[in-house]
Symmetry: C2
Subunit: 96 residues, 2 copies
């Protein structure tokens, strides 16, 4: 039996994610509770909303944009971006 | 601050999920590692593949069917169904 799945927790357990690696690459799926967050990237990230919605201020953008279920956005490596989460939201984050 | 997110673990940590409730209803997002599993339902479940693929033998069906990224299947309450997971797979499970 392989070792079990890894869960990461951020922002006092308001954000949790589970890591996976498959034919699509290396990803995490997670949930964010309602709140405002600032994240930093170490790799390029492709984030897709799985359930709920994310309101995002991307690096070098002045405006907030809302991404709904099924929609994606990309953040380059070594960037900081801000998120407003208005309902609990599940996401997939794929790393490149 | 609200209480943190709940993570559930099954099959010796080969399957883990995070619970959420939002405008879409009550769901979990999770990951299944490679393996064969049998699950039971207590409510009707709508399962969507988020990354990877799930090969499923639904209750009262004789054949296995494979669901890829973005595809969904439904299992009624109080049923048992079998899954073959051939690559690590992320899923969304919505309960009714």
């Amino acid at each position: 039996m392989s070792k079990g799945l890894t869960v990461n927790s951020y922002f006092d357990d308001q954000v949790k994610s589970i890591a996976l690696e498959n034919q699509e690459g290396v990803s995490t799926v997670g949930v964010m509770m309602v709140g405002d967050y600032e994240f930093g990237t170490s790799k390029r990230e492709y984030i897709t909303v799985v359930s709920g919605e994310l309101t995002v201020k991307l690096p070098d953008e002045d405006d907030w944009r809302t991404f709904s279920k099924g929609e994606s956005f990309m953040v380059e490596a070594n960037q900081t971006f801000s998120l407003q989460v208005k309902q609990a939201t599940a996401y997939l984050c794929r790393y490149e």
